[in-house]
């Protein structure tokens, strides 16, 4: 089973490299080739996820060296779920990306997929940085793809802020390597208990800021609101759907492994909770006043990231509620936001304007369906995943006696409901009968709607049967260290493993 995990990373890379040859045949074959690749990786990721759900976590070893020596991938059920959903949305975005993009666009998408898959699975600190760089660099290029005035401005801002952030992250890695002498996450997490308070604090803040810029945490997410609307719509669907989530995933995993010893749990939890609330409240209030449709969706993405941060912070003290909320919010946002951006983006491209009143002139029927289903599920209307995610989050927040916080969060959630419903109803009540550029778009939108509905029904069924979702959470420190390598056996002496 470990081979499949590696293929999900190696195949898109191979596809990216070979894209020039396929590009000679033209853009449509390139799109078909990348759709095929992402379909294969989705199937592989699905099989990996199934085996993870049944069995225990997997450690994939590279170059034949046992974990502390070489680089290793670590896959727990949550990583498997994240991997599978990332590949699903990538496949649907590639299909739903219409006919206007060159073979280079699809090459970059394949490399982005390889980078994201590696980022989710990686178990080595510098390896996380390299994959993070791949994802950042490809996102810079894809945001500025159109080279219009607006995309260049967004690309430049994103480039500068992203580069500064990744340099800070590299600085944190340097400090950690200097202190511990190793780059393997499990070993660092084992050694991190003995870090002095000031060192641990500075490294925590450096990693939080370094990865926070890319994952859209409150004060650092200014680039997000320029980049998503300016990017081509499949890219903004991917940026909102998987890229900022994967950056958040890595941030939470690193924080979970390095900084959660007894004393700091409270402090780390409260910092993340505060940042989550700030991200959510500011993003939703500002999003409420947006006339530009895609920009409003970008604000909603930042808001959902805030919710996920809060869910993780709650999960530290109440794992049964917090981690379930995190998983549900992630899946819901991935499907709903991916679908919304794919449909709203295509519709506003066809109608030429992104203003709330004029963007929906040429809405095809599948756009309307996704507009309705996506809007409802994102807002947390009953039958969808968002509803259960919101319920789990509110239960969790109340369980840790954060009453005022629940009041604020729910009041602001009404704002989000209003401006998202403005977009959905603008699409629903659109008069014109639009046609999509290619059948692939309609197919991907229908698949997304069915996934959302299916997930909703499954959730209702799951809650009734009381299915236990607690396995889908970040593996706690001790268990992570034990599965990756046996601490006692490795004392830094000679350990030949040819």
């Amino acid at each position: 089973m470990t081979k499949l995990a590696v293929y999900t990373f190696a195949l898109p890379l191979l596809a990216g490299f070979l894209m020039w040859f396929v590009g000679r045949l033209g853009n449509r074959p390139a799109k078909a080739f990348s759709a095929l690749t992402s379909l294969i990786t989705t199937v592989l990721a699905g099989k990996v996820l199934l085996s993870l759900l049944k069995g225990s976590s997997i450690v994939v070893v590279f170059g034949g060296w046992r974990p502390p020596l070489g680089i290793n991938f670590f896959l727990d059920p949550l990583a498997g779920l994240w991997l599978f959903s990332v590949n699903v949305l990538m496949f649907l975005a590639v299909i739903g990306s219409g006919t206007r993009y060159s073979w280079r666009f699809y090459g970059l998408l394949m490399i982005l997929l390889a980078g994201l898959n590696g980022l989710i699975m990686s178990g080595d600190l510098f390896n996380v940085f390299v994959f993070f760089e791949i994802v950042c660099l490809v996102s810079f290029a894809l945001v500025a793809y159109y080279r219009k005035r607006e995309s260049i401005e967004a690309g430049v801002k994103y480039f500068v802020l992203g580069s500064v952030a990744s340099s800070l992250f590299l600085l944190a890695i340097a400090l950690i390597y200097g202190k511990t002498g190793t780059l393997n996450l499990a070993q660092i997490s084992y050694l991190s208990n003995s870090w002095p308070a000031l060192f641990k604090l500075v490294v925590f803040v450096l990693i939080l800021v370094g990865l926070g810029v890319e994952s859209g945490v409150f004060p650092l997410n200014a680039w997000l609101f320029d980049a998503h609307p300016a990017a081509p719509f499949p890219v903004s669907a991917l940026l909102s759907g998987i890229v900022i989530e994967s950056a958040l995933y890595v941030l939470l995993r690193l924080v979970g492994l390095f900084f959660l010893d007894k004393g700091a749990v409270l402090l780390v939890g409260q910092t993340l909770l505060l940042l989550g609330v700030l991200t959510f409240v500011v993003a939703e209030i500002v999003g409420f006043y947006q006339r530009d449709v895609k920009r409003a969706l970008a604000y909603s993405s930042a808001g959902q990231i805030g919710l996920m941060l809060m869910a993780f912070a709650v999960g530290l003290s109440r794992p049964d509620l917090g981690s379930v909320a995190l998983v549900l919010l992630f899946l819901n946002h991935l499907l709903a936001k991916g679908g919304l951006f794919l449909s709203v983006g295509a519709v506003s491209d066809r109608s030429g304007s992104r203003d709330l009143d004029r963007f929906a002139e040429e809405c095809a029927f599948s756009d309307k369906v996704v507009g309705l289903v996506g809007g409802l599920s994102l807002v947390g209307a009953p039958p969808f995943l968002g509803f259960w995610g919101k319920v789990a989050l509110v239960f969790g927040l109340l369980a840790i006696n954060m009453y005022a916080l629940v009041g604020i969060v729910l009041a602001v959630m009404v704002l989000e409901a209003i401006y998202l419903m403005r977009i959905s109803s603008a699409m629903l009540t659109a008069k014109g009968e639009g046609r999509q550029d290619c059948p692939g778009q309609a197919l991907s939108l229908w698949v997304l709607s069915l996934l959302m509905l299916g997930a909703g029904v499954l959730a209702v069924y799951g809650v009734k049967k009381g299915v236990d979702l607690s396995r889908l959470r970040f593996t706690p420190k001790q268990e992570y260290i034990q599965t990756v390598y046996d601490v006692s056996a490795y004392k830094g002496g000679v350990d030949i493993d040819g």
Partner: protein, 530 residues
């Protein structure tokens, strides 16, 4: 599914069936699939709502009904007021459920009592919002007038009264009656004021649907207040009036929607003298009007009488006065409805109208007859409501009133006899009637021209009443609240928008400030903590 849920399920299914029959019997526009499927889905959701005893599922179905109403109303611009206020209510309910889960670990409705009075009050907030009592009454007019005509009947008959069922279900599930006297009284008086406010609104409106929707609000707040009173007589009177109101609105709205399909407008000025073309509809519309006004021979009187009886026996005279004034208001707008639609001056639109086809008229006939039956022979219906309320209250037959023991059903039967006399009189006089000649002689044309607004004496019929209630109505229409929102809350948004001023240097400063701010703050906390 307990007996209370069963009653409400049958009522909703019955109404939905009749409404769908009315839509199917209509023309191609009303026969379109999605409104009918929407109503069926909404009925399914409501059946789920009636059947569950678990707060989480109650919240699931309640939220589903809110969202379905928003979508089925098919006019988002007008329905946003409804959406955001009911979402606020729902989130109050969600936090109540969360708090109970945190305290007691279970989300059963009965465990709400252990969570304390504030949780109960929060849980019941959405019921108050959905009923439309004073602070939450600004969305009623927009939603009803703006809503899709094919859905407004179901909206006003069932959805407007979900709050009533909510209170019934919640309070009946709690082991002991919560000591929420303060909230109870507050909302009874607020309901009274809302009843008067909506009566004035209905009286002053120039549109049939607007009049009917505000009349619904006035009746529903009366039901809501009497349920809040929570005595055997008041609750069974409320349930009876629930049934009556549902029937009345079913019949009246089907007529108004039929007319709307024919002449394309629901303004009073566009209608007039339809009795010539639609005599049967006029007959049943008259019966329902009488029942709405609460005049003895029809069912409306019995249920209103029970509710008044309950308030008086509890010695609460001020609410009785408030609801009585609202009752007087109902006389006015019922007459206005009857007059402007069927008896007023003939308009050019009369040629478009003809009697409903036999299938379409069934809902009207059914509601007229059942309401008549409730008026004439109330015993089976009283049995129905008391069976539904078994376990909560003992059956209501004998009640002690200020003038000693009174057998309610006996009293109502006496009025039933009175009804028999009226029917016989109507039967005798019917053949002798003759049409009053058109006396408006001074216009040469056969029909009055369209811009009759200036001459049609029925336009702004109750000008003195409107002038009297103007200040009162404006105060409680909460226009000033919208102004407050625009001015102050919107200001907060502008401040936050200023954060993202688009300059790269500022964003860079954000990164560094976050970095240093977190380091300083955390190091202080750590040093203070350890």
């Amino acid at each position: 599914m307990d007996r209370l849920g069963l009653l409400f399920t049958w009522l909703t299914l019955g109404l939905a069936g009749l409404q769908i029959l009315f839509l199917l019997a209509g023309d191609r526009y009303t026969r379109r699939p999605w409104p009918i499927l929407g109503i069926l889905l909404l009925t399914l959701v409501l059946v789920g709502l009636y059947s569950t005893k678990d707060m989480l599922y109650f919240f699931l179905f309640w939220s589903a009904s809110t969202w379905l109403t928003f979508i089925l109303s098919n006019n988002p611009r007008k329905a946003f007021g409804y959406l955001w206020v009911s979402l606020l209510g729902e989130f109050a309910m969600l936090s109540a459920i969360g708090y109970t889960y945190a305290v007691t670990g279970s989300t059963a409705l009965s465990s709400l009592a252990k969570a304390g009075p504030t949780a109960i009050a929060l849980f019941c907030l959405p019921f108050v919002v959905k009923t439309g009592v004073i602070p939450f009454n600004f969305w009623i007019g927009d939603l009803y007038t703006g809503s899709d005509k094919r859905f407004v009947l179901f909206l006003s008959a069932i959805i407007s009264k979900l709050g009533v069922f909510g209170i019934l279900r919640t309070v009946s599930e709690l082991p002991s009656l919560p000591n929420l006297a303060v909230w109870q009284n507050l909302f009874i008086y607020l309901a009274g004021i809302t009843a008067i406010w909506s009566a004035f609104k209905a009286v002053g409106s120039e549109d049939a649907i607007e009049a009917l929707s505000f009349s619904s609000l006035s009746q529903v707040t009366f039901i809501f207040a009497s349920v809040l009173l929570w005595s055997a007589v008041s609750v069974s009177g409320a349930v009876l009036h629930y049934i009556n109101h549902m029937l009345i609105k079913l019949g009246m709205f089907s007529v108004v929607i039929y007319i709307w399909r024919k002449i394309g407008s629901t303004e009073y000025t566009a209608m007039g003298d339809f009795v010539r073309r639609m005599p049967v509809s006029f007959l049943f519309f008259l019966m329902l009007g009488i029942s709405l006004a609460g005049v003895p021979p029809m069912g409306g009187f019995n249920s209103k009488w029970l509710m008044y009886e309950a308030f008086i026996s509890k010695g609460r005279l001020l609410p009785v006065l408030l609801f009585f004034v609202a009752g007087v208001g109902s006389f006015l707008y019922v007459y206005r409805l009857l007059h402007s639609i069927f008896l007023g001056r003939k308009k050019a639109s009369i040629s478009l109208v003809k009697e409903m086809n036999p299938l379409q008229i069934i809902p009207l006939v059914v509601s007229g007859l059942v309401s008549f039956l409730i008026g004439a022979y109330v015993k089976p219906f009283m049995g129905l409501t008391s069976r539904a309320l078994t376990g909560i209250f003992d059956p209501v037959t004998i009640t002690k009133t200020s003038i000693g023991l009174v057998n309610l059903s006996l009293v109502l039967e006496v009025f039933g006899l009175l009804l028999g006399v009226v029917v016989i009189l109507f039967w005798i006089l019917l053949p002798k009637h003759r049409y009053a000649p058109d006396t408006e002689g001074y216009t040469a044309a056969a029909y009055l021209p369209e811009q009759i607004r200036l001459w049609d004496y029925s336009y702004n019929f109750y000008a003195p009443v409107n002038r009297l209630g103007k200040a009162f109505v404006d105060l409680f229409s909460l226009g000033w609240l919208a102004g407050f929102w625009k001015e102050y809350i919107a200001g907060l948004g502008l401040v936050l928008r200023g954060l993202y001023n688009g300059r790269l240097a500022t964003y860079g400063a954000y990164i560094m400030l976050t970095l240093s701010g977190l380091i300083v703050a955390l190091s202080l906390l750590v040093s203070k903590g350890s």
